[in-house]
C-alpha cells in the first residue's frame, strides 16, 4: 500500500485515512482492525473534566446531524492515565485533540502532554461552537489564532495541527495566521452553526439552541474551504466534512487535502473508514496514481 503513504506535517502516515475527533475512535476497533488507519485522533480533551451540555444534544436533519455535546470528556489527567495507553497499543500515530478557554490553558495542556510518550501530534481545536467564549469560537480571530499557534509551536516538536471552523468570513485569513504562527498542518472543517425547531411545539430540537452541523449536507462547504485554503498555504491539510464514501475522500484530496477523516457517516457504518481506505486504494490503482499525485488535482 505504498501508493497511499502521505505526510501530515512532521509525521509520516501509512495512508491518509483517519477518524474525525469526537466521532468513532478507538471503539471502531470492534468493527475493523484499527491499525489499518493512517492515524488516530482522540476526542477533544480539556484540562478539567467536562460534563457536557444539557440534553437533547442530537437532531438529525435532511442529510446532516446537529450536535451539541459540549466537549464532554474526562479531562486531561484521566485521558493520559486511562485512554492514552489504549491508543498507544493500536499502532498508528495518535493526534490528541484538545481545547481550552484561554491561551495559557492551551499552553499548560501541551506542557503536560509533552511529558508523555505515545503522542505523535496535537490537533488544536479552536473551532468548537459548543463552548462559551462570548458565543464565538477561538478560531474566528486571526490574531488570536496566530498568537496561540506561536505559543504552542514554541512548546513542541510534535506535529501541530490547527483545526479550523468554517464559521468565519474568510477561512483563508485564519489558515494563514495558523501557518505563520507555526502550525505544521491544518484540519478542516469543524461543524457549521445550525439549528432546528420543532414546528409543532416551537421547542428547539437541541436544548442549547444553536448547535454544530455535520454530515453529507456540509460536504460542499468542506470542499470549498479545503480548496480555498489549499491555494493559500503550503502546509498539509487534513480534511473532513460529510465523507460518506471513498468518492468523497477523493473529492477532498483533489481539492487539496493530504489526509481525510471520517466523522458523522461512520455512525451509520462503523467500518466506513476502512471502506474509504479500500476504495481510495482501488481508485489510485485504477488511475495508476499515488496519493501524493492526486492531492490538489482539481481543475476548472
Amino acid at each position: 500500500m505504498n501508493r497511499l503513504s502521505t505526510k501530515l506535517g512532521r509525521i509520516e502516515l501509512a495512508n491518509p485515512v483517519t477518524v474525525a475527533s469526537g466521532t468513532f475512535g478507538l471503539e471502531s476497533g470492534d468493527w475493523y482492525d484499527l491499525s489499518r488507519l493512517g492515524a488516530l485522533v482522540s476526542k477533544t480533551i480539556t484540562l478539567e473534566p467536562r460534563a457536557g451540555n444539557q440534553p437533547p444534544r442530537l437532531f438529525e436533519t435532511s442529510g446532516g446531524l446537529l450536535n451539541s455535546i459540549g466537549l464532554q470528556n474526562p479531562g486531561l489527567e484521566a485521558f493520559l492515565r486511562d485512554e492514552l495507553p489504549l491508543y498507544a497499543a493500536v499502532g498508528p500515530p495518535l493526534m490528541v485533540s484538545f481545547s481550552a478557554g484561554t491561551v495559557d490553558e492551551f499552553c499548560r495542556m501541551v506542557e503536560t502532554m509533552e511529558k508523555h510518550e505515545g503522542i505523535a501530534g496535537y490537533e488544536v481545536n479552536v473551532s468548537c461552537p459548543n463552548v462559551e467564549r462570548e458565543g464565538m469560537a477561538f478560531g474566528t480571530d486571526a490574531q488570536v489564532v496566530y498568537d496561540l499557534t506561536r505559543r504552542l509551536a514554541a512548546l513542541t516538536q510534535r506535529e501541530l495541527c490547527v483545526k479550523l471552523t468554517p464559521n468565519v468570513t474568510d477561512i483563508v485569513t485564519i489558515a494563514r495566521a495558523a501557518q505563520e504562527g507555526g502550525a505544521t498542518s491544518l484540519a478542516l472543517i469543524n461543524t457549521l452553526l445550525g439549528m432546528a425547531i420543532d414546528p409543532e411545539t416551537g421547542h428547539s430540537r437541541i436544548a442549547r439552541g444553536v448547535a454544530g452541523y455535520s454530515g453529507p449536507a456540509i460536504k460542499p462547504v468542506a470542499v470549498a474551504c479545503v480548496w480555498r485554503v489549499a491555494q493559500a498555504v503550503n502546509i498539509p491539510i487534513l480534511a473532513m466534512g460529510g465523507i460518506a464514501g471513498w468518492e468523497d475522500a477523493v473529492e477532498l484530496i483533489r481539492a487539496g487535502a493530504c489526509a481525510v477523516a471520517v466523522g458523522t457517516a461512520a455512525f451509520v457504518s462503523p467500518d466506513l473508514p476502512v471502506r474509504v481506505l479500500d476504495g481510495l486504494d482501488a481508485f489510485l490503482a485504477r488511475k495508476e496514481l499515488t496519493l501524493a499525485e492526486l492531492v490538489g488535482t482539481a481543475t476548472f
Binding site: 466521532t23 471503539e27 440534553p55 444534544r57 442530537l58 438529525e60 450536535n67 454530515g215
Partner: protein
C-alpha cells in the same frame, strides 16, 4: 448478559405483522442477536441506504429460536421507511446493545408500559414468568396504542379502564400483597411519575429510557441523561435500563 460489542449483521425479515396504521412488528433472523436479554436494543438501518440517515434504535421485543422481533411505532421518516419493509428484505442491524433489566428468579414483578414502551416488556415478561408472579399494566392515548396486558388504561374503547396507567400503578402499589420490583417503559413524563410513586412506596423501579442516539455504543455522548450524582449517563451504554434512583428526574 451477552456483550456482543461490535456485532453487526445483515438480517432477513422473516415475518411482518401490521397491528394498525401506527404499529407493526418485524421478525428478523440472526442467531447472535436473538441471544439478547430483556431490555437490550438494536440499531437498525434499512438497506440499501440511498441517502444519509442515522440508524434507528429499537428494543428487542421478543425472541424465538434464531429470530428476534422489534415492535415499531411509526413516528417520522425513518420509521415510515421501515414500515415499507417486506418479508424477505434485508436490514443492517447492530446489536444487541446496552444492558438489560434485572432478571428476578422469583417474587412479584409489576410491569408498567405506556404506548411504544410496551416493546421491551414483552421479552421481560416471558423471561420472568417461570419463577415470578407478574402483572402488566399498559396504557395508551388511543385504542391503537393498546396491546395485550393484564390491565389496560385508555380513554378510548371498551377493553380498557379510563385514566392513566400511572393511576393503575398507584392503586397497585397501595394494594396489599406488595411488589418486589417495578419495571417501566414509556414517555419520560410517565416514567418520572412512576419514579415518584415507587419512591413513595419504597419499591425498586427499573426504567428503560429513550434518547436521541447517533452511535448507540457510548462514543458520541449524544444520548445523555442527567444523573442524580451530577453529570450525565449514556442511555446507550449505561442503559437503556436504569434504576430510577440513578436518574435526575427534575432536569
Amino acid at each position: 448478559m451477552p456483550s456482543e460489542s461490535g456485532y453487526r449483521a445483515v438480517c432477513r425479515v422473516v415475518r411482518k405483522l401490521e397491528h394498525n396504521e401506527h404499529y407493526f412488528t418485524l421478525w428478523l433472523r440472526d442467531a447472535t442477536i436473538a441471544r439478547a436479554v430483556p431490555g437490550q436494543f438494536v440499531m437498525l438501518q434499512p438497506q440499501p441506504q440511498t441517502d444519509f440517515s442515522l440508524r434507528i434504535p429499537l428494543c428487542v421485543h421478543d425472541v424465538e429460536d434464531d429470530t428476534f422481533a422489534v415492535l415499531v411505532r411509526v413516528v417520522g421518516q425513518g420509521t415510515r421507511r421501515l414500515a415499507a419493509v417486506r418479508p424477505g428484505d434485508l436490514l443492517d442491524v447492530m446489536g444487541p446493545l446496552g444492558n438489560g433489566f434485572t432478571l428476578m428468579a422469583e417474587g412479584r414483578a409489576l410491569l408498567v408500559s405506556g404506548g411504544i414502551g410496551y416493546a421491551p416488556l414483552r421479552l421481560l415478561q416471558r423471561r420472568l414468568r417461570p419463577g415470578c408472579v407478574t402483572q402488566w399494566l399498559h396504557g395508551g392515548r388511543t385504542a391503537a396504542d393498546l396491546f395485550p396486558a393484564d390491565v389496560l388504561f385508555c380513554d378510548e374503547g371498551v377493553a380498557a379502564r379510563q385514566g392513566l396507567v400511572t393511576d393503575g400503578l398507584r392503586e397497585a402499589l397501595a394494594a396489599s400483597g406488595g411488589w418486589d420490583r417495578v419495571f417501566a417503559c414509556g414517555p419520560h413524563a410517565m416514567l418520572a411519575a412512576c419514579a415518584g410513586l415507587c419512591t413513595e412506596a419504597g419499591v425498586p423501579l427499573e426504567v428503560s429510557l429513550e434518547a436521541y442516539m447517533a452511535c448507540g455504543i457510548g462514543v458520541c455522548h449524544g444520548c445523555a441523561v442527567p444523573a442524580v450524582t451530577g453529570g450525565y449517563m449514556a442511555v446507550c451504554k449505561d442503559g437503556p435500563v436504569f434504576n430510577a434512583q440513578e436518574v435526575d428526574w427534575n432536569e
